[in-house]
Point group: C2
DNA sequence: AGCTATTGTTCATATATAAAAACAGTATTA
DNA sequence: TAATACTGTTTTTATATATGAACAATAGCT
């Protein structure tokens, strides 16, 4: 039972002018209002209202208490209104975590687009190689490639993405283009490496799946640096489609290993709990889904 | 059920840092706290807390709501403290109604005495011939001679008082002093009359009680005027002991009808409800009781 | 790694609360 | 002046609420 029961009944009795009217407003029985006021008086060990069957009048003590409670009721009403507004409008802060590459290439233009429609929104975009802790670091949303196993979060697939092995035309003038994954061993591969670890390159051919640990004398935790190194002919790079689109179109890079596709992966939005999703978060993820579907064109078959 | 249930649980969960700790502080089960927060979230249609088994963290929405609720809790606590102080100290306003005579003669010095001990008190003394409506006119206390029949008020006897028939020695030189109530018919009686009505004079002899409607060509609603008229030999007056003390001692007036006593009456304090008596009201009536016992000396037997 | 202590949630049950009707009292109205 | 309609309170009964144990999950400890 609440520590402060009865204060709203008191306020409403005064505002309405009678127990009966207050009961009607509050949607309870008048007997209940009577009981609540009585208990409040017992608890405060003072009489708050003088009452005859017809007239209600505040005690001096009651008047002082009423003033404060009235303020409290107004504050609580204001608080609920504020929440309601926040809940149903796209406003406030949206704190997003993402890897550098995805964030810079995909999210920055997407966010720009979304904010044009929702100018009251504040964005806090945090790019890093880590998988952030949503709770600890107060992120509303994390965007990454591949889902999380954490059962406390929702993984929402936004778009599929593929990785391609690419090289510059220059490089391919000097080296024989690989046609099977095993051929990669003969090449210098530009590796994405973070915190000392790199992931193997995976491919799916007709019926078989291959995982290759490649040779490399060049590592970076920056996708931009990897792509740049590849265009300058330093070796082969394994990069996602959304990051290659322009350079493939312009011919600065070309794909190799035709017939071998990388394993499909998903760009995922990750957030806490499906229930009670705030409007801003719900609408932003919906927007991202549409935006990615529109912007990520499947590359011409390789 | 309250319209704002759960806000105190939310505040305490944040203040304590966990559901369990909050439950301990609030003196309820942790299951209950959990349920309250859940309902609050359902009602607001938003998530207020991120929770894992070990960590609690406010949502952006939750943080906003928490700030407001925290303020509300502090305000409610402050309100209760204020009431407590008002309830247990003699301070604030004490609004008293009394008849002119009693008020001027007895209450003014009594109040002066009481206020010396309780300087934080404010007194509002309203003198009139009417029986005031405590509720309607916001009186804490009415002092009068004789109890009220109203079942909604407390009649607290402060002191007994007697009425005496008095005359000036001059008057008695020219007239035969009455010895029985019936003799009053032969005299001019100075009548207390308010709103066109006067009360009969009552007497108790040895074994019998007499009620007399006297003859009068002089009326006033002022006890002071009555007494003054009597000292100037205009006739007989029927006045209370506390108002005659000085004039009887100085010999300006003398009592008649020896052997016939007026009906004893009570000076009464009248207030709303015995329960929840404020400290100032309780202490003031107690003080009046003592003060009257000390100050109203029984007149020498008549 | 495995164990322990502690977390928040869920569920059946005991308790407390709110409703509805009966009650007592008082302004209003005819 | 009597009838009436409405007041706040009381009481019984139906409903809702809080509990406490069982549960699932996790951080810290050894």
């Amino acid at each position: 039972m609440s520590r402060w029961r009865g204060f709203e009944e008191l306020v409403e009795v005064i505002n309405s002018g009678s127990f009966s009217a207050a009961a009607k407003v509050l949607g309870v029985s008048k007997g209940h209002v009577s009981q609540q006021i009585s208990r409040l008086e017992d608890r405060l060990d003072t009489r708050l209202l003088h009452r005859t069957t017809r007239k209600i009048s505040l005690t001096e003590t009651g008047a002082i208490y009423y003033q404060q409670c009235r303020q409290v009721v107004e504050d609580l009403e204001a608080a609920e209104r504020a929440i309601g507004a926040l809940q149903h409008e796209v406003k406030g802060r949206l704190r997003i975590a993402a890897p550098h590459l995805l964030g810079e290439v995909m999210l920055v233009p997407a966010i720009a687009n979304f904010m044009k429609r929702n100018p009251e929104l504040t964005i806090d975009l945090h790019l890093s190689g880590r998988r952030v802790d949503l709770i600890e670091e107060h992120f509303d949303l994390a965007i990454q490639v591949g889902a999380r196993k954490d059962i406390n979060v929702v993984n929402r697939a936004l778009a599929p993405t593929k990785f391609y092995v690419v090289a510059s035309p220059d490089y391919l003038m000097d080296h024989v283009a690989p046609v099977r994954p095993a051929d990669l061993k003969q090449h210098n591969c530009l590796l994405f490496m973070d915190a000392g670890f790199s992931k193997p390159w995976k491919f799916r051919g007709t019926g078989s799946t291959v995982k290759i640990s490649v040779n490399s004398n060049w590592h970076s935790n920056s996708g931009y640096a990897l792509r740049s190194a590849a265009t300058q002919g330093l070796g082969l790079a394994y990069l996602p489609d959304y990051y290659l689109k322009d350079d493939l179109a312009s011919g600065k890079l070309v794909t190799v290993l035709h017939g071998w596709q990388s394993i499909d992966r998903e760009i995922v939005a990750i957030y806490q709990h499906k229930a009670h999703l705030s409007a801003k978060l719900r609408l932003f993820t919906e927007f991202l889904e549409e935006y990615f579907a529109r912007e990520i064109q499947p590359l011409q078959a390789v």
